[in-house]
Each structure stands twice: as C-alpha cells, then as structure tokens.
Amino acid sequence: MSLEEFVKEHRNAFDHKKMPEVANLDFEVRLKKELHQNTNNLRRLQIIRYLSVAASVALIVTFGYWYQNKQERIEIRDNLVLALEEGETNSSRLEAIYEIEDQFANEKEDQKILNAFFKILKADSDVNSKIAVIDALLKFPDNTKVRNQLIEALSNETEPLVQLKLIKSVAALREQRAKASLKKIIEDEESLPLVKGNASALLAMLNQ
C-alpha cells in the first residue's frame, strides 16, 4: 500500500484533535462582540443616511425658498422702478418713491433703484418727488455715486425748495466738493435771497 493510499484510507483518523471547550466560550464572546459592533455600525450608517437626506431636503427647501423670495423681490423692485419712471402723475411717482423706501428700507442700495432716483433728480420733475428722492438718497451717505449726484444736482437745480433741500443735504454730508456749486448759487442773480443765505452759511462752515 502506498503512503497516499494509506492516508486516504485512514483520513478520518488524522482529525483526532478536539477544539477545547474554553475556546468555544471565547468564540461566543467574540461573535457577540462582532455582531454587536456590526449592528452598531449598521445603525450608525442608517442614522447618517437619514441625516444626510434630511439635510439635503432642508438645503433644497431653503435654497428654493431663498430663490423664490429673491425672484419676488426682483419683480417688486422692477414694478416699482417702472412705476417710478412711467408714473403719469406726480402723486403716482411720489407714491412709488415712498413704496420703494418702505420695501427696501433695510437693504443694501440697489443700483437699478438708484439710477431711477438719479433720473428724477436730473429731470424736470415736480418738487415733491425731487425732495422725496433726496431723502431716499440720503440713506446711503457712503455711496460715492449718491454724493456725486447730489453735488451735481445742487449745481443744476433752479427750484428754490429743492435747492434748500440739497444745501441741507450736502451740509449733512459735509461734502467739501460742494463749494463750487454753492458759489454758483451765491453768484446767480436768479437765486432767492433765502437760498443764497443758506448757501453762504454752508460755504462758511465748509471753509472753517
């Protein structure tokens, strides 16, 4: 009988060893630990998955809400600017100015609104609208364009009430560049004495 045949014939006799009982207990403990760990990992994964889904939904909803809100604000603004530019009566224009002031009171200046205001300031609009626009523009004292437009308006304006409003505005802004416009008012024979007086007082203040 060859060695191979002998081993084949007595194959079972080679598996004589028994796993010790202590090892069986060790295995039970280890298995429980592994299974527990797996369950924990699975639970953790599920929680993470739920949280990510919830976070994604919240993000989408927030973004959707923000985007919709933004679109609505743009629409309101465009409508108001349109009303401002195409206002057929002085009162409708004035109403649009006040509405803009109310709607965008706490927001950063909007270039489209400012441009519409600048147009009113330059155009041959009514006094009330111009005064309302100047009040609205004074809410952005740090905006260079606003300051430039007010100085330019002071130089070109001929309506005494608007002139007075502009003088007070540049006084509040302590705008040194308004000196030339003030001199122009003072030297203009058409200017009312009250306007000239205010202009002189401001010029003196700026020269101090």
């Binding site: 009988m1 060695l3 080679f14 598996d15 028994k18 090892a23 295995f27 039970e28 280890r30 592994e34």
Partner: protein, 160 residues
C-alpha cells in the same frame, strides 16, 4: 453557532496541521468563522460550506505562518531538478496512523506544508503552487523529497 459546532473540530485539525500550535490554531478557526459570517453572501451553494470553510482556514493558517515569518523558505525555493517519484509501497512496513502523523509533524516546514496539503487536505500540486506562489514543478519535487524523508523517518522508527 450550529455551523460553528459542526465544523470547528475539522477546521481546528486542518489549521493545527499547518501552524503546529494549538493556540494559533484556535485563533485561526475563530477568525475563519468571523470572516465566513461576514462574507457568507459570497458562498454560492450551501452544500459547499465545508470545503469553503476549509479553503479559508488553509489561507488563514498560511497567513499566520507568513506573519510569523515561517514561510521564508518560499523565497529560497527554486525549480528543483526533476526528481523521479519512486513507487514505494509499504508492504514490508506496517504503517500506523500515529507514526505517520508524528513523522509529518517532524518534517521541515518546506516539506510538511506541501505534504499536508497534498496528502491530507486533497489539494492538487497546481492548487498548492497557486496558494504558495511557487511553480508547480517545484511543489511536485518538494513533495517527492518530503515523501522520501517521511519514508526514511518511518523506517527509522521501525528499526528502533
């Protein structure tokens, strides 16, 4: 636990024959069951559970030896010159299982592992070569040499 109870002793014997250490064999069997439970989905047919577990225990046991750097001889193994297999029969020698086991146990690792895998675990030379990363010819020659040494040991023990 039912599967564990059913196969633990068989796997323990397989592992012990390779690692030659009871404690390592126990640990290896535990590792094998944990691995098997984690990868049970890879088992295509339940009827193959036993052979599947045996494959894993052989792999893990060889890994234990690798970790203990007891498979260094693999690097030294080279294509040995062809050794002709002697068709030895043991008609004149009465073989005893215990003696064969002891003789295998005393062989050097480089012969013992190949002898164990081929003779007892029913691996082919090709499978052993793949498992150990050796050429099939090397495994075949190493087996013949191992068997020769085994025979020598058995004859010596009879002579004593």
């Amino acid at each position: 636990m039912q599967v564990y109870q059913m196969y633990k002793d068989m796997l323990y014997n397989v592992s012990f024959r390779i690692v030659k250490n009871e404690h390592d064999a126990q640990d290896t069997v535990h590792d094998v069951f944990i691995k098997a439970f984690q990868n049970i989905s890879k088992l295509e047919n339940d009827l193959n559970l036993g052979p599947w577990l045996k494959r894993i225990v052989v792999n893990c046991s060889l890994d234990v030896l690798r970790k203990k750097k007891k498979l260094g001889w693999l690097q030294e193994s080279y294509e040995l010159t062809e050794t002709t297999e002697e068709n030895v029969t043991y008609e004149d020698v009465t073989l005893k299982v215990e003696e064969v086991k002891k003789a295998i146990h005393n062989l050097k690792d480089k012969y013992r592992i190949i002898i164990v895998l081929y003779l007892i675990e029913d691996y082919s030379h090709k499978e052993i070569a793949e498992q150990l990363g050796l050429k099939e010819g090397t495994v075949r020659n190493q087996y013949i040499r191992g068997k020769r040494l085994l025979k020598q040991q058995l004859q010596n023990s009879k002579a004593l």
